[in-house]
């Protein structure tokens, strides 16, 4: 583990804060402590809000949970919706879903993977990747991309829209729907909906393939930089299918060492606490999960696209699997261990999602009418694990005999990546900031490393309404009429 977590004499050091970290979901900040020679002595990613979901769903009925907990997030609520549903399936002994229910849930999930990955790559990260990390800050955003690369921006927006349409059709709403219920789903895809989605799916597959090509080209253009930026070695964790294939909806846990050796394989996630523990540090509201057998210092790991691509034995769709092999072999595997390799892996997953959606749409059972599984033996608890866009997501509930939740534990994707993100920004600080005069462009390097993980800080903790904000109102001539701001302390100023 990197030694920059805690400096010895912090009171004598100069402090720089990046607050908030921009173009990520939720609110986090980075603090850097520098000595008089601008040498970096301490780097921390802090998550400064508190998430109270585990507490306030206590006392609520179990069937409400899949709808309530998805309010954790507006980017990938479907992950929470489905993870909670899977937990309740287990609670009710209904884990064996009907084919129609299983396929509609998968369609919803892969629709979400598609939209979330498209949002992250095109809207949030392409400005850094296509303009440069220290390019003009006013243009380093999706509006700048739309002006300079209109075709790229258009495809990004339409890919996301397609994924959102799938969610609307399967869940009832684009954000915070109700489609998945304990034991199944409340609707299947209609003939008209299926036809509409089929009409565009081949375009989506082809655009996803192009997106993989964009990242590949970026690596080609400056291989050394892309492979070494914020590079660190880490173990990896993800779900894999029984045959070792990538499966983002269901599977068993697999963890690998840095050299690829398996630490455990096909571990039943219903007992996740036997292999995963959580550590707490006084400077962050976000916990630090680790593989219990290895302890907090050695047991931390990466999750998400990079971990999943390396962890699985193959991807069960042809185009994505071809890209996976090329990615793993690129420069003797150097790209597959790079922090910026997350982008490449993420686009391969987007392609896999598009191919998966195509297959599901060609399956007649997607219109099936048998939507709810038969109830089996009731258990006192339910555990649901899913591979959310950002990584492994764990929902764990205990429910009493009156059907009320009495305990909940959520370990979300971004939380698993907590130590990994801290490692990445410490490496970047040493590589690019150490001993230099700090500029906005250099500080953005830190943010670029965080963004590679696609963190969802509002899932990992939960914003309580103190997001710093500036609003300016202009008339049609461009004259500023008024402005207002709210600081991270919640102080509101209107002018």
């Amino acid at each position: 583990m990197n030694t920059l977590e805690t400096a010895e004499n912090p009171e004598k050091l100069r402090r720089i804060a990046i607050d908030p970290v921009s173009r990520v979901e939720g609110h986090g900040k980075v603090t850097l402590l520098l000595d008089e020679d601008n040498r970096v002595r301490q780097v921390r990613l802090h998550i400064v809000e508190f998430r109270g979901f585990e507490k306030f769903i206590q006392g609520r009925p179990y069937w409400e949970v899949p709808v309530m907990v998805q309010r954790l997030c507006g980017i990938c609520p479907v992950s929470h919706h489905l993870a909670a549903s899977k937990a309740m399936d287990m609670l009710l002994g209904m884990e064996k879903l009907t084919p129609a229910a299983d396929k509609n849930r998968r369609l919803m999930h892969y629709g979400q993977i598609l939209q979330s990955h498209a949002l992250h790559f095109f809207h949030l990260c392409s400005p850094d990747l296509l303009f440069g990390f220290d390019s003009e800050v006013a243009k380093r955003n999706i509006v700048g991309i739309a002006a300079a690369f209109p075709e790229v921006a258009k495809k990004g927006v339409l890919l996301r829209k397609y994924g959102q349409e799938i969610i609307r059709m399967t869940a009832g709403k684009k954000i915070h729907g109700t489609g998945s219920i304990p034991g199944g789903v409340n609707k299947s895809l209609s003939k008209e909906e299926r036809k509409a989605l089929l009409g565009e799916i081949y375009t989506m597959v082809s655009w996803s393939l192009e997106a993989v090509g964009i990242v590949k080209q970026l690596f080609e253009s400056n291989r050394e930089f892309f492979e070494n930026f914020g590079r660190f070695d880490a173990k990896s964790l993800s779900l894999v299918r029984a045959d070792g294939a990538m499966d983002l909806y269901h599977g068993d846990l697999r963890a690998r060492e840095i050299d690829g050796k398996k630490i455990f394989d096909h571990f039943d996630y219903r007992h996740y606490w036997d292999v995963i523990s959580e550590d707490v540090k006084p400077w962050s509201y976000m916990k630090f999960p680790y593989l219990g057998s290895l302890g907090p210092d050695e047991g931390w790991y990466r999750v998400g696209p990079l971990a999943r691509i390396s962890n699985c034995d193959f991807i069960p769709t042809p185009l994505a699997d071809r890209e996976r092999r090329e990615f793993l072999e690129y420069d003797d595997g150097r790209a597959a261990g790079a922090t910026l390799g997350y982008h490449w892996a993420r686009m391969i997953e987007m392609l896999h999602a598009a191919e998966n959606i195509k297959d599901l749409l060609h399956d007649d059972e997607i219109e099936g009418e048998d939507l709810i599984a038969r109830q089996g033996e009731r258990a006192g608890r339910g555990v649901g694990v899913i591979e959310a866009p950002r990584g492994t997501l764990i929902h764990h509930y205990r429910v009493n005999e009156e059907d009320l939740v009495i305990r909940a534990n959520l370990i979300v994707s971004t939380t698993h990546n907590n130590q990994a993100m801290n490692e990445a920004i410490r490496q970047v600080a040493l590589q690019y900031l150490d001993g230099r005069e700090i500029t906005e462009g250099l500080l953005n390097h830190i943010e670029v490393a965080i963004r590679a993980f696609d963190p969802c800080l509002s899932c990992a903790t939960h914003a309580l309404g103190r997001m710093p904000l500036e609003i300016e109102l202009f008339d049609c001539e461009g004259e500023k009429l008024s402005s207002a701001s709210r600081s991270s302390e919640g102080i509101f100023l209107a002018q």
């Binding site: 009925p61 069937w63 709808v67 009320l404």
Partner: protein
């Protein structure tokens, strides 16, 4: 046939009918929550307040009379109805986003009808634990609007007196008629009229929430005024 004027339109009525009953029969919607065509009016929610000769009156309890000139669809009355609805929202814990009655809830549908976009007032956030003691039904007191329909149904139709309103004024609350205060200790049954009469999300069949997809719920398909009209026609 005798008649009165509702917003300038002639409405005929039968002897003993209230203004609201006659209006609904004529296909005219006056917002209401505690009124139900199968029960004696209660006159408590005050949403159906109309103006007759400059004076306000609850149309669910005011008997129709020949020649009355009744105002209902006025900006002033709808503004007051909106305020009353907002107060109902803040007195309880009405979290529509995670409520299984969303889309089937008369309070929510009425709020939409009245153009409510925010609760306006500070929330009370009362602490009201749910009662899940009954094997088939759950009571979520957080959403109670004190319409007393369950009280009337249990007393007048089921002959059980499972529910009652206790306390006075702002402290009024729904109670269950058992020594323990728990529904599981009463003879409440799924077949009771009281089990299906709640206009909001208090009396709920366990394990059934969210089984109807968005788009197929009651008020996804009909605005509440149209639903009230259809409900009456289906009964007659």
């Amino acid at each position: 046939m005798k008649s009165f004027l509702l917003d300038g339109e002639r409405i005929s009525f039968e002897e003993g009918e209230t203004i609201l009953q006659a209006a609904i029969r004529a296909g005219k919607y006056i917002p209401h929550l505690c009124f139900h065509p199968e029960f004696r009016p209660h006159g408590s929610c005050k949403l159906c307040t109309v103006k007759i000769a400059g004076r306000q009156s609850a149309s669910c309890t005011r008997l129709a009379a020949e020649g009355l000139e009744v105002e209902s669809e006025t900006a002033e009355l709808n503004a007051e109805r909106l305020l009353l609805t907002q107060m109902l929202f803040v007195e309880g814990n009405h979290f529509c986003p995670s409520c299984e009655k969303s889309g089937d809830c008369q309070l929510q549908a009425t709020a939409y009808h009245l153009g409510m976009t925010s609760a306006h007032f500070d929330h009370f956030y009362p602490n009201r634990p749910v009662d899940a003691s009954h094997p088939e039904y759950l009571l979520d007191f957080n959403r109670c609007i004190l319409c007393s329909l369950c009280v009337r149904a249990s007393r007048d139709v089921d002959n059980k007196n499972v529910f009652a309103l206790a306390g006075r004024g702002i402290a009024t609350h729904l109670v269950v008629n058992a020594r323990s205060g728990k529904l599981g200790d009463t003879d409440f049954a799924a077949t009771d009229k009281a089990a299906s009469v709640c206009p909001v999300g208090v009396i709920l069949k366990k394990g059934k929430g969210f089984s109807v997809p968005i788009g197929s719920r009651t008020f996804d398909k009909k605005e509440i005024g149209e639903w009230v009209d259809t409900r009456l026609k289906e009964r007659t």
